[in-house]
Every structure is written in C-alpha cells, then in structure tokens.
Symmetry: C2
Subunit: 480 residues, 2 copies
C-alpha cells in the first residue's frame, strides 16, 4: 500500500484524489472548480495530443484557431443548443474598463462561432468537405467538479466539418468515433464500447451522437469521446450554403467531435492500483526509469557507468528513459516513488549485474517478484525493453478488457437491471422504452442509458422494460 | 504584381492585410479585434511551436497548464503589474446564470496565478529551479488591432521560472532571450537586435526586460519576443519562500518570457514581397510544390508518374511536399497561387523533363528565370531539394540582414535622429537621457527607445540628446 493513498476498496473517490496529488498530476486552482495541470499530468496530455493529432492529419483534417469570445446572440441561434448550454455559460460583461453592449460568452464549445465563419468560406461544392480541428480551452460553469473529469475550464480538441451530403457527414461522424476507439484502445489501453446515444443523451443540436464508453475501476462508466452528426441544424441557423454541381443552392451537412483532458482521468481510473498510477507505455511521459543500486563508494563508479550505458542505448532507440541518480533517496524509496508515478518499466543495476554485464527488468503491471526478470545483457537493452513495453501495453488493455467484460451483465427484466446497477456493474438488455421510461430508470436506479452499442446480438428481442419487441440492446450504467 | 494585392510601395498596411486575406492566413472574428487563424496560418504557428518547444525542453523546461480565470484581487497584488494591465482587462462577472461575488480576469498574462501556485509548490532549495512553460491564449482589450500583430485574444507561450539566487534568475533571463534569437534567426530567418529595454519600456513588474527587435519591410521595428528578470517582486507579492541550504527562509528570484502569434506577422513583413508571402523553409507548412505540366492527354500519364515519383522521394526524406494535380487550373495559375502562399521551392515537370528523367527547380526567393535551374535527375530529388531549401533558408536571412543593416543609421545629434526617423529607418546613438528625454523623443518623432543592444561599440561616447558622457548606445525606431 502506498503512503498517502487511500485504498481503492475503502474509498474510490478519495483514492482518485490521492493519486492525483501524490503523482503530481494536477492541483486545485484558486477559482472554485478550476484545475492546474502540473507538468507530469500535462506530459500525459501532450502524448494524447500527439496520438490524436497524427490520426486527424492522416485523415485530411487541418488545425485552425477560432476566438474564444462568442457574441451572446450566436448561442441563441440554434434552439436545442442554447437550451443545452445556457445554464453553464461564463459571460464577459466588462472589457477595457467599459460595460459591453452585448455580453460575450466564453466558449463552452465552438459550433456557433465556427459555423459563422464556415458560412463565409463555403460557397461552392468545391470548398467541401471542409475538415477543421481546433485544440483549445473551453469553459462550462459546473457545480460539482473533480480534477480531469469535470472542471470549470478544460482542454480539448473539437473537430468541425462541413459536407455536401448527409451520407458524407454520417461517414465522417462514424470515421471519427472509430479513430477515437483506435486511439483509446491502442494508445491508452482503455477498452471502450462504441455506440449511439439515445435521444435524451445526445448533443444539444445533433441528429446522432456516437460515443465511446469506458468502464472505470469502480465499474462506473465514463464517456471518453463523442462524435456528432449535426445534420443541417447549424447550417440553417448560420446560413452555410453552397452551389452544388447542378448550380443549385444547398445547405451543408455537418459533424463535430471531441476528446478532452477527461481522458487523463480515464487512464488513471482504468489502470491505477493501490500503489499508484499505472501508465500505458505509449502515453507514459517516462517509459523506463533506471535505478542504480550501490552501497560502498567503490561500487559506485562501475554501477553508474553501466546505468549510463543503458540509458544511452534506450535514448538512441527513441525510448523515453530517466536515470534516477539522486543521492538523497534510497533505492527502495525510488521504487515506491516511480511506482506511484506509474512508470511502466524499472531497470535495476547493482554490482552483481555489472559483473555480468547485465541488468534487471521490473514491470509495473505485474507487482513484486513475479514481474521481475534477470540477466538481460546490456548490449540488448533497447530490444529487450521495447519488447517489454509492447507486452505491457497489450497486457494493460487485456486486464482492463477482462475486468470490463466480467462486469457487463445481460438483463431480461427491470428487476435484474436494478440488481446489476445496485451491485455496481453495467446492465445490457433489449430496449424499446420511451423517453419517459429512460428517465424513470435514471431516477430510480441512478443509471443512464450509455449507448446502443454498434455490436449487437443480430436478432430482435424483448424489451426488458416494456415487454415489446426491441431491435437493439442498450447499455445502462452509473456514470461520471 | 499579384492580383488582389496592393504593392508594398503604395500602401504597406493594405499590402499586409491583402496578403493575409489572399494567402488565407487569417480572417476577422465576429467580435471586434478578434482573429480567426486559418489552417495555413495555423500550420506556420505549429511549426513555430515545435521549434520553440524543442528548445525549451532541451534546456530543462516542462510544460504545464494554469486556469485562465484569475481572481481580480490577484492582479492588484503587484503594484506596477496592476497599473500596466488594468486598462486592458476583460472581466467575467456572470457564471452559470449568477452574478459573481468577485469578478474574474481573463488572463492578460499569467504571472499572478502561476506565482500563487508556485508559493504552494516551492518549500526548499531542492524544489528550485522550477522551470515551467505554458502554451495558452491570452486576452488584452486593445483598441487598435491588426491581424497577428495586435489582437484582442492571441496565442503565445509564457515561461515562468523560480530560482534560488539573483544570479541564476539573470542567467535564465539571458538564456531565454538567446534561445529566442537562435529561433528567430535560424528558423524564421528573421534577423534580430537583442538588447535591454529602458525603464519606461520594460514589463510591468520586472527588474530588467530583454527583447529581440526585428525590422519589418517598411523599416518599422517589431518586438518579437521578450524575457524578464522579475527579481523578487512577485515572490514577495505572492509569498514564494524557500528554506535555503542553511535552513534560512528566502524569497525566490524569478523570470518570465514569451513569444506569441505576433511572430507570424514578423515572418510576413520581413520576407513578403508584391507577389505574396515568402516563407522560410523551416517554418513553411509546404516546403515544395510539384506542378505537373502537360497539354495532350497522351503526355499526361508519364508526367504524372514522374511527379509522383519525385513526391515519394521527397516525402521519404521528410520534406513537406504537395503535388498540385488539380485539373481545373492551368500551370500558370498554380505558379501564382503557390507564390502567393510563399512556398519556397516549386518543381515543374513536363514531357521534355520526363524524357530526360529530370525536373526543373524554381525558387521563391529569386524571382523569374534567374531562380530556375534545369535537368535535376529524379533519383537525386531529395538531396537536390534539401540543398536548395537550406540555401533559401540562408539567403532569406541574409537578404533581411542586409536590408536591416542598410537602414540602421548612427546619429550624433537629436536633429540627425529626427531626420533618420522621418525618412523611415532605425537611429542608433549614445544615450544618457532621462525618462522625460525619452518621452520627448516619442512625442516629437513617434520613435521609441527599442533597446540598448547587447552589441555595443565598446567605449563610451557622447549622448546625442544631453551632450553628457554615455556608456551605451540605444536604438530608436517607430514600432508596431
């Protein structure tokens, strides 16, 4: 058990906050609900950014930047949108010492201002598709906040695209949720259920919202990324029209999609244990830490030389390595420190290893002696370590998937759903309920309809709520 | 002369705005003074970010993120700071539908909030130096705005560091202005004069401000980056104290430093000509454009195959290349289009080139026939193009340096300074004037004291204003 960290089994919420403090991921800002992302937490976010940005550019998207101040009147233009966001807005009313004529909204999301600009840029079908992404901060005036998961200001990327047809927009919305799934599973080792949101849960102003839902260590769901087919709602509100190939004026079809710093919270809660963080190698700021071990001064030089040789080899191979040669701490203290920080691989080098020209590998995903292997030749450092990093990346995903799959339960009746939710877990069952039925589940059990998964049984069944025939199963769970 | 672009000699300010519109770098946002950075402009900014971020990390700095909302009371804590920034603040007074008890400042710069956090994190000399950088948006309520140069909201990086001694802070402030110089000259091909600001011109709350000043195409100066030694002013205002090695409580010594999207404006104005942008290869989103040239349908396939072979070779060598195979435009139209966009190198491939297994190179920095070379073998594409890109990078810097040096004039009297400034140019002369003398120069000539350059004649001289002995020369110029 790590010092300063509440065990998960005792109080999951306190465990989460302890980890964030002890691993120095974030701190509370002076304004209630705000968060400071500290260097170690921000380095995880930078790796998330790189992994996503590469995927966006490979599929033809370009980054741009739009002002964060939006005229209040813009927000009012799309009816559902204004209803969805009004309670959460921060308003600038004074600028340069003067009261403003119209208050400015600090963007809660940028559909309105981006579509105002799209209306200027899109004239002809030749201007389409327009594929834009923005990395930015956004503000939502939340009452109950929690670092990374829900903060007054957060960082994200928001994609905004315009297309000539419904089909192209739909294809884009699906392409992006698939890119998110690939990112979550292959970079974050976070297994997700991908599906469609219900009418009640979808984005304010969208035709369809697609989502990826991840199961946290306490079995709650976390919406880790969404992609929306906006139809022509914003195009009509902002007048995005183009001349098609037949010279006829058409409204554009649009999408938007986003992943935020919330994903850092998902990584913490999917992988972390009572010893601290466990980071997937692809997102880890430090993939390997080297701890030199010596007692007598005469051992020191050869141990440190070996450690430096290993570091150089790993650096040259592009592995993110850190040599912890601090003298004020013991090796044991360092082991705990780097376990808390979730570094996937630890290398130990002592006098006996030096004599053999070798080093010891310890893996964060398998605790204690079972995770240790010995006598790795120094000249093979890069290949041995890379193979282990790949293995850990795979194993973290498998562990998380096994945990999730063991905690999704098929239900045939509302009573079964109540039991599953009460015990902590996800309930999956045929659903043909109304909006009111869905609200009732939420009120009575605390669970929400997370999504209709893309993966379906393939045949119709009986709705557990209404007894009517249903074409799809849905997943219900308590959620962050 | 490019269509849609006012010649520089006719109206420099209109030329600048025309370039920004025609090269699709930016657009005006709906709120007065705000700017949308379009994909092509943002891609230049991304290259600036990469070049700076690499340098920051190589010198031990780490990125982090701090909230953009700052309690109003924070701004008031440092006397000079509040005086400097108060007239430019944007205030949030309503959040989540309610009037706030204390208005929140949208950060104009983050010294106050970052130092509030530093006070929590810094306890012992072992916590120092603390070397933090932030990539963020900031807001200053400016009345007279111009895309990239001065906008209500802009993007920048702001470094903030804390040290144990004055000497270490001073060393850091100087290290960072040198990093900026290296970046400006070697990535942006923008020659700069590096020096110290006068008391009147330095940052609100700093002991010393160091600056790099660049000469634009109209001979005005642009402050392209600054680095401040903040002394203990903010440490005292926010209580950043640490126990030193003798267990005594000390206030920390600090620096801050920043470069913003303004640098994109510098690149436009230092290198651009009447045909459009001219981008330095290291910052160019597209370094090479390939234009296939064919008339008869039977020529097409072989020309396009050659073009694709060249593209593949350049891509594999890590060169940012674009093949413009659009059919709706003629080669001549494409030449003009990519010249406007400032792409450093154009490759032309026609049927005669195909027959020779070769291609034509045209360079953006030398117009017309003189800039063209022929018969480059396709198999040597990568090395030929890379050599030319390096040559263009050097040449743009040399051209700009020659222009600047020809327009800096040494002055011995105030009359000489008036003449130089009236004719458009920079005046350099010995200066031992008072703050009032400096204000008088500004009022009477429009020129400000840009800096005391680090490069000095090495011996004292006579102040052109007061006739007294002066130890340093200063540079005066009209500035953006």
């Amino acid at each position: 058990m790590a010092e300063g960290v509440t065990p998960r089994s005792e109080d999951y919420s306190r465990w989460y906050q302890d980890i964030i403090r002890e691993a120095e991921l974030a701190d509370y800002g002076p304004v209630r609900g705000t968060m400071v992302i500290r260097p170690y937490g921000y380095a995880i976010w930078e790796n998330i950014q790189k992994a996503l940005d590469r995927r966006f550019k490979a599929t033809g998207h370009q980054n741009a930047y739009f002002p964060m101040f939006i005229p209040y009147s813009f927000i009012e233009k799309e009816k559902e949108h204004v209803e969805g966001f009004s309670p959460e807005l921060a308003l600038v009313t004074i600028g340069g010492g003067k009261e403003l004529e119209e208050p400015l909204v600090v963007r809660p999301t940028s559909e309105t201002i981006i579509n105002y600009m799209f209306a200027k840029w899109v004239q002809s079908y030749r201007d389409l598709p327009l594929l834009i992404n923005q990395w930015a901060n956004v503000v939502r005036w939340e009452m109950r906040t929690r670092p990374f998961l829900r903060t007054l200001e957060f960082l994200w990327q928001e994609g905004h695209t315009a297309h000539a047809t419904y089909e192209e927009a739909e294809e884009e919305a699906l392409r992006m949720i698939e890119i998110y799934r690939d990112f979550a599973e292959n970079e974050g080792a976070v297994p997700v259920v991908v599906g469609r949101k219900s009418r009640l849960e979808r984005f304010a102003g969208a035709l369809h919202t697609y989502t990826m839902e991840a199961m946290m260590g306490d079995k709650k769901a976390l919406q880790a990324g969404t992609s929306h087919n906006l139809g022509q709602n914003f195009a009509k509100a902002f007048g995005i029209q183009f001349l098609d190939e037949n010279n006829e004026l058409q409204y554009a079809w649009q999408t938007s999609w986003g992943v935020s710093t919330r994903f850092v919270g998902a990584v913490i809660m999917v992988h972390g244990d009572d010893q601290g963080l466990r980071l997937p190698p692809r997102l880890a700021p430090i993939q390997v830490v080297i701890v030199p071990i010596w007692r007598k001064e005469q051992e020191r030089e050869s141990v440190e030389q070996s450690a430096q040789r290993v570091r150089e080899q790993l650096e040259n191979a592009g592995i993110r390595v850190h040599l912890d040669d601090r003298e004020e701490h013991t090796p044991g203290w360092k082991f705990n420190f780097w376990e808390m920080k979730g570094v996937p691989v630890r290398i130990e080098i002592g006098p006996r290893d030096v004599a053999k020209g070798a080093f010891v590998l310890a893996r964060r995903d398998i605790p204690g002696k079972e995770g240790k292997t010995f006598d790795h030749p120094i000249e093979e450092a890069a290949s041995r370590v890379q193979a282990l990093l790949d293995e850990i990346q795979r194993n973290l995903l498998e562990q998380a998937r096994a945990f999730r799959d063991a905690n999704i339960h098929d239900v045939r009746t509302y009573d079964e759903l109540r039991e599953v939710i009460a015990a902590g877990g996800w309930a999956r069952g045929y659903w043909a309920g109304s909006d009111d039925d869905e609200r009732r589940v939420k009120e009575e059990t605390g669970a929400t309809l997370r999504c209709f998964p893309f993966e379906q049984p393939g045949e119709p069944g009986v709705c557990f709520m209404t007894g009517q025939e249903a074409t799809e199963v849905a997943i219900f769970a308590k959620a962050y």
